[in-house]
Subunit: 338 residues, 2 copies
DNA sequence: AATGAAATTGCAATCGTTTGCAGAACATAG
DNA sequence: CTATGTTCTGCAAACGATTGCAATTTCATT
């Protein structure tokens, strides 16, 4: 019943040679007589031998595995980041462990604890919204396990960082609305504690002031989560204001919730109000009207992050921390085409 | 710079006791003198010691980790399955490795290879659409690593299986359309090679024949992927047929694509055609009209699968393979309310 | 047949941890 | 001061693999 996996020892016993010989034969080491080598390799194939991962990890003090800590799984942007990471990792014979923190600080810490002890050779992390304390990340660098942060990066940790140019994205999204003739542009963003949202907001402000436009406290709403439900509630008041003719939303979900509210208030999109979202969720192209948005290079972010991390793993303590800033792409659809 | 993690050996050396004593002291073994125990524990805390995961795995021949192989990450149903799995696993001090096969047989096999050798104590798997060959799964059971399949299960492997009652779901979804007065109900489903789609289809057929309704070859379309794009193309012809007054779609994405086509053909939903989808993606509630759908108990599927697997891990070779069938819930929204 | 070099092979340490067993240190009783 | 028992500690093997070094075998040459 219990077919314990074949070890090098089993092969050695059956062939009446030493463990060392088997080990060398499997590595095709010419020190071993050709005939023995062949016999070992044949038997190994017959028994479907493959070396014990744990034993190798212990011996080599490396696991050939990198960890990812990410706040959400069901997020098309993160999914493309993961795909980028996996493609690079697999091509270099590394495996990937994904932990989703579910935007919870506590879960992020427990995931870190689970990963830190000899389980991974390096970490790719995107901080949760809740995270204000960074010790669990510092623990990694203290142990010589390199980290690369992406998207929501941690300034307090000395490491590589890959970010989206959120400031520029916010700036260009707002500029686009202005180019469509909007003069009174509102802002509906995710949690302002996140750097990415501060940057998007700053871009928005810059675009306005550059064009001599004003904003108003009433037109600016920072939501707690950036979710659809949150947006429905938070944008209620905003969407009732008749003065507004444009809206820059920090996520597509927020854009969608605002559009629902605008519609409910009897406004037509984009005729009365032009709307642009952020992240290019598939829903933004499927909805009617289709929603203009900012496309983030998720896949590229993933590949770049993984490449940097693997470089650091293979050649520890030589690279200075690098920060890469990736550019976005404005996708114009119906919701902002006046 | 390189802070190699403290080992039991370091503590032993500093305290001038043996490694065994430290090991026992950390386990709070009363064989060790209370004062020594305290000294060891204090030093361990000071150095933030935690045992090397790899060494423990090797010693105990268990990794306290379970693997998940899943075809897609960005899928709300799978995400809730994963959440269920994680909740159960974490509560029993197990970790989770997620591998997304991206619906590729090849990737599924390479993920299996990566997981099989002493990396995980058990596997939770949902087969990709492409998978026709099951050896990579049989390898697990051959080695005594238990598997639990969920959703897309593999009949060829003797293991626990958790499925959705797709037959009943298809039956009830179609019944619902009939109850709304539909008489000519079309079927737009995902790849027919998948058992789940065969079952949904069979449920659809049963509901029709039970109500004395007919179907027509023209009204039945099996798509290759079940994606929105695929649906747009595959449902083109179907949605042009004037005879049709109802549609049961095998995914919400397919429902959405058909609705777009119906609209383009000048039909109104639900007045002219009532539509119901499958899986309760968030888009189905956000779209206008909101789309009726079948809600699958993903979280429950995850917890049940993980519980069975952990039972099997902790008590090998005692349980007979069990098959659990979970019931679904029809969510009626605008798209099917005549 | 003896010698030496070349070709093979195996011993043993190592990675970090646990644990059975043997033995040391100490205390108490006779 | 010896005998006996308690309490505590450490050696060594084990998990599965790799690898430097030493030992053995093989074979050609004299």
């Amino acid at each position: 019943m219990k077919n314990a996996p074949v070890t090098i020892k089993d092969i050695a016993k059956e062939l009446e040679v030493s463990i060392s010989t088997v080990s060398r034969a499997l590595a095709d080491n010419p020190l071993v007589k050709a005939s023995t080598r062949k016999a070992v390799q044949d038997l190994a194939k017959k028994y479907n031998y493959s070396p014990n991962f744990t034993a190798l990890s212990l011996k080599n003090n490396k696991t050939n595995t990198i960890g990812i800590i990410i706040p959400q799984l069901v997020h098309e942007f993160f999914a493309s980041v993961i795909r980028g990471i996996e493609d690079v990792a697999y091509s270099q014979k590394y495996n990937v462990i994904i932990c989703s923190s579910n935007e919870s600080y506590e879960r992020e810490v427990s995931d870190s604890k689970a990963l830190i002890n000899g389980r991974i050779d390096g970490l790719l992390a995107c901080m949760s919204k809740e995270t204000k304390n960074y010790e669990h990340f510092i623990d990694f660098t203290d142990r010589g396990i390199p980290i690369v942060f992406f998207d929501c990066v941690c300034k307090a940790v000395e490491s590589h960082k890959i970010l989206i140019d959120d400031f520029d994205a916010g700036y260009r999204a707002t500029k686009h609305l202005i180019s469509q003739g909007c003069e009174n542009i509102a802002y509906l963003g995710g949690p302002f504690s996140l750097q990415i949202n501060q940057n998007r907001y700053a871009g928005y402000i810059k675009a306005l002031s550059e064009s001599g436009l004003n904003t108003d406290d009433q037109w600016i709403v920072h939501c707690e989560t950036g979710s659809f439900e949150d947006g429905l509630v938070s944008s209620k008041e905003l969407t009732g204001l008749d003065s507004i003719d444009g809206l820059f939303a920090g996520t597509d979900m927020l854009a969608l919730s605002a559009i629902k509210n605008f519609k409910a208030a009897g406004k037509s999109i984009p005729r009365d109000v032009a709307v642009i979202g952020f992240s290019n969720w598939s829903i933004s192209s499927l909805y009617e009207p289709s929603i203009s948005t900012v496309d983030q290079p998720g896949y590229e972010m993933g590949t770049k992050a993984a490449e940097l991390l693997l470089k650091d793993i293979k050649n520890p303590y030589v690279m200075k921390p690098e920060t890469h800033i990736l550019q976005t792409n404005i996708i114009v659809r119906d919701s902002s085409s006046k």
